[in-house]
Amino acid sequence: MADRPILELSDLNVHYGQAHALQNVSLSLGLAPVAVVGRNGMGKTTLCQSIIGLTRSSGGSVLMEGHEVSRLPAHRIARHGLAIVPQGRRTFPSLTVDEHLRLASSGKGGAWTIARVYETFPRLAERRNNGGTQLSGGEQQMLAIARALLANPRYVIMDEPSEGLAPVIVDHLIDVLRALSKDGIGLLLVEQKLALATAVCDRVEIMLNGRIAASMTASALMADFSMQQRYLGVASAGH
């Protein structure tokens, strides 16, 4: 990890009423993609939401390229170059594919343009006039990724991108994520599918009950079956 950090979380805490959902999470995230894995309810989505300002953290700091953003409203955080691909895609039912992209790209220059999105995801070009919810799960996922990329972010957080996708689409997703990473975009991949997480990321953080319980390389985790069972409750590392 000789990687210069882009996004630094230190002692991040989130409370939902009495529940302490995120407990002193510290992560230093650079250009190399990092996966966060863990079972349901361990605080993975809370982690994503608190970084981008949709959930208020009750303590700790989030530094985005040296700027403290944890107290900013979500729209200001987004302008610091942080984007999210939310769990469940959350495309807008009343907007077409093209409108999603125009909404996401307005007024910002950069490497990602609508034309490049259509080039990268030809499927979206075919469905440009379809509504956001008339798309298949895979198409919606591509749309959600494209929506995030059009802000030309420095760092993208992806919350369970493989959820509900067919294996062949997951393979395509792996290619897309690898390409993004090569392109110089930082990637925090929150994922339940170990195969996807380890295919994209060399570094894996394991979340347990709102804490980072362990940090290891993807190959070490893949080799340690008892670890997988203990923290992830998986019987195999397959899809």
Binding site: P73, H75, A78, F92, S94, L95, E99
Partner: protein
């Protein structure tokens, strides 16, 4: 279809309808009846359609059902009546029509922004209640401040400027101005909702959190949307005040507020054209119900008609025409799984 082409086609079609309908009336009816239709029914439908458009715009694209739009129109009307030369009684007076109308529109935009700012954290039933409270509060304020607004009687004799030597309230002159204004505002709304601002507004209706995660300031967008709706309502308020030769608290009271909601809902909240469809249906029934049915109970007829429309088609007359069209073409419902 590109936006420019859509606007051009819609504009031409709208202009065609707005020109052909009076022509058809002149051909079909004696002159005085045709003028009655144009001056009293069509013009009225257009004016209140404009005010209803401000509500439909907010409801359709932002998901904000605001009951304060009649109030905002009334603020424009009162500013016009208070400032313009010739109004009776003189409250401020002394301004010509262009300046007075400009101030009226400015006031309606500010009022719209204020309503938006006050209601910015509320949605659904709470937004409805807060805007209703504003509307009723303003009505009481106007009614009870006799020095400023001349109380119950209101301000009269707002005749409008002469246009090319003809009276503003001449049925054809008024109709031309009202239809031109309505068409421009309608096209303006269609244009606006395709801009990034309008797309963000629709995104806010779907999911405000996602919009803020994309870097859009949700609060600001909501307030600006209310400001724009304020401008639309203000245009309608100015025209309504000239149409009614003045303004009184009754024209912005609870009854007027609810009538506006009825127009929007009966027309249909799915598309801005619904505002005008609803206001036309309303104007026709409001005018003729008394001669069709018992003079003392014609409101029952109006109520029954609206009830039937909303019962048959929860999305108003627009939904009704869509349903009929689908029935005739034998197409499945939208949202039904493709065969």
């Amino acid at each position: 279809m590109t936006l420019a082409r859509t606007l051009l086609l819609t504009g031409t079609a709208g202009l065609g309808i707005l020109c052909l309908v009076p022509l058809a009336l002149f051909l079909a009816l004696p002159e005085n009846q045709a003028l009655f239709w144009i001056g009293n029914i069509l013009a009225r439908a257009l004016i209140y359609g404009i005010i209803a458009l401000s509500l439909t715009f907010l409801a359709t694209y932002g998901g904000f059902v605001s009951l304060a739009q009649m109030m905002v129109a009334g603020i424009a009307g009162y500013v016009l009546a208070m400032t313009v030369q010739g109004a009776v009684p003189v409250i401020i007076g002394g301004f010509g029509y262009p300046m007075a109308i400009l101030m009226a529109l400015l006031a309606s935009v500010l009022a719209g922004l204020a309503v938006g700012a006050i209601a910015v954290r509320t949605n659904d039933i709470y937004l409805l209640m807060i805007t209703l409270a504003l509307a009723v509060g303003f009505y009481r304020f106007v009614e009870s401040n006799i020095d400023l607004f001349n109380g119950y009687e209101g301000i009269r004799n707002v005749l409008g400027p002469d246009i090319l030597g003809r009276r503003f309230r001449d049925p054809m002159v008024f109709y031309t101005i009202a239809s031109g204004t309505a068409l421009l505002l309608y096209l303006g709304v269609l244009f606006l909702v395709r801009t990034p601002f309008g797309l963000a507004l629709q995104g806010i209706r779907d999911n405000p959190r996602r919009i803020s995660a994309l870097g859009y300031n949700v609060v600001l967008h909501r307030i600006v949307a209310f400001g724009i709706a304020g401008f639309i309502a203000g245009c309608g308020g100015v025209l309504a005040t000239i149409y009614n030769i003045g303004i009184s608290p009754g024209s912005i009271g609870l009854g007027a507020t609810i009538n506006l909601l009825i127009m929007s809902v009966v027309g249909g909240l799915g598309h801005p054209v619904g505002a005008f469809v609803g206001s036309l249906i309303f104007a026709i029934f409001d005018t003729f119900a008394a001669s069709l049915y018992d003079r003392d109970r014609f409101n029952s007829l109006i109520g029954a008609v609206f009830l039937v429309i909303v019962l048959i088609s929860p999305d108003g007359a627009l939904g009704l025409s869509r349903r009929l069209g689908r029935l005739l073409r034998g197409k499945p419902k939208p949202g039904a799984p493709p065969a």
